[in-house]
């Protein structure tokens, strides 16, 4: 892997002028392919039957003013469902800092299920608002 990636770096190091740092080159793939997955929070039943299951499931417990886990790290894939299974003893809200963004209202009861997808690759923080904690950072990779 290391050797393969030498080539683009070498090309870039030679080819990019200083000003080139400020101006990105043309993309190789258009962004239009994201729009088909933009229907956020669709149930997993819409996935084609037999498709590889890359669902990411995170179990979250909120109890006595403490959330578990915090600052966890999980992998996820663009367009694939991400599920938060939440048990809580207090109302709160969960903010997913992705593109598109999601907000879920947490009620004071067990077995709540929030499902969403992320359209744009990146590191996505999932935050619990009232307790002011980051539950998990999702590393969302392209498909």
């Amino acid at each position: 892997m290391t050797r393969l990636s030498l080539i683009p770096i070498a090309v870039a190091a030679v080819g990019l002028s200083l000003a080139g740092c400020g101006s990105p080159s043309t993309p190789s793939a258009g962004p239009s392919e994201t729009t088909e997955t933009s229907s956020a929070a669709t149930p997993s039943a819409t996935l084609p039957v037999g498709a590889p299951n890359t669902e990411t499931v995170i179990t979250v417990t909120i109890s006595g003013g403490v959330v578990t886990p915090t600052n966890a790290e999980e992998q996820a894939v663009v367009g694939q469902p991400i599920v938060l299974e939440v048990n809580s003893d207090a109302p709160d809200s969960i903010h997913v800092h992705s593109v598109p963004a999601h907000t879920f209202d947490v009620a004071a009861r067990p077995d709540q299920r929030f499902e969403f997808t992320v359209d744009v690759p990146g590191q996505v923080d999932v935050e619990l608002h009232d307790l002011n904690r980051t539950i998990v950072t999702l590393t969302v990779r392209p498909r």
């Binding site: 892997m1 290391t2 990636s5 030498l6 683009p8 770096i9 070498a10 870039a12 190091a13 990019l16 200083l18 000003a19 080139g20 740092c21 400020g22 990105p24 080159s25 993309p27 190789s28 793939a29 962004p31 994201t34 729009t35 915090t70 600052n71 790290e73 903010h95 800092h97 992705s98 593109v99 963004a101 992320v118 744009v120 690759p121 990146g122 590191q123 996505v124 923080d125 935050e127 608002h129 002011n132 904690r133 980051t134 950072t137 590393t139 969302v140 990779r141 392209p142």
Partner: protein
Amino acid sequence: MTQATETVLAHGVGGSTDLPIPLNYALVGGVWALILTFAVVAVAWRTPKFDPAKPGRALPGWVTVAVDSPILRGVVATVALVGTVWVGVAAIWGPQNADSALPGAFYVLLWVGLVAVSVLVGPIWRVVSPVRTVWRLLRRERAENGTRGYPPRLGYWPAAVGLFAFVWLELASPDPGSLTAIKIWLLVYAVAMFIGAAAFGTRWFARADPFEVYSVTVSRLAPFRRNHQTGRIVIGNPLDQLPTMPVRPGTVAVTAVLLGSTAFDSFSQSKGFRNFVDRNGAAVPLLGDSGGASVLRTAALLFFVVAVGVSFWAAARATGGVTREQRRELPGRLAHSLIPIVVGYIFAHYLSYLVERGQETVVRLADPLARGWNLLGLDSGDVVYVLSMNPALLWTIKVACVVIGHVVAVIAAHDQALRVIPVGHQLTGQLAMMLVMVAYTLTGLYLLFGG
């Protein structure tokens, strides 16, 4: 401003952050930085090459006429002022939640966009600065006789403080996304600018306006400059212009704030640091959980800035054969060589923000009051996530920016060392500086890799 507080957003603008660069990209970048550094030192030229007095290639006369035209400058300043008012209207009467255009305009378009434009065309803030424009309108009739003149020993220190105040709000304050906090910051900024200008005249803007000093600093890398003998605008090697960075008290502090804060931004997103802040934030007395967390982040931010400043200062002084007086001047005389590292790292770090959050912000500004105006036909579907969708491209750009910035810095430092370090000490005298620059770059790559 009375609604419930917004949630804490990364950099105050929300959305996701870049994927970390893979290890092999970081390693390849690091190896290139090392090889090229030693190449520069080993095969180096022995007489200084770069000279701000070089004439450059003169651009057509109309360029100089246009740049110097009071009418054109007035038009540009007016457009910038209208843009500022536009953002102000969106901030005050627009949506008061995460849909507000203010954080994006403040943290992305202003902070990162200013660097991009200044690196390309020169110190633009001097022309577009809204505080300068308003001041000119207010003071049109009165000459500046009542002012005391700016004390030279202050140098750029007020701007360094202002820059730190900006990065503190973005990276260490309790809630960087708080519209109220941003508005208070801007109000304090405007008041400080006007009071200072009333006391010291317009030189205050040149020394104390954080955005102007930021713009002037990075503009030393612009390909365009003015030939001071002919007055013509010329195009030339940025390395010839780089040493024109004014050496004043606080010059090193300005670059240390810029580089240290960008490194802290990467570091503060690491799991280890977040856990540390979460566990110990409540232990800080009197301030509560989020206040305590802010104190810890502030201390860490300050540590990064001081570490950069002190290491650079010490490395610049680490040479033999100079008098005490000359040694004291060395950090300032070498400070310009840090600018390429700063610019390279800022682009590596914030380029996707500028391109993608920048587009989101422009879309929001096209509908400042959230009434569905969609001026210029812009809506959120138009945002193209060109860099995030192509991680390999983004990683390549990031590593290239860091490595190129590093190499340009090393070249500039070597060339300046030939001027300021006496013969016989030139090779050993720049060793510490080269090692410090390598350390900055490897640390930067490590942080982009994600620790």
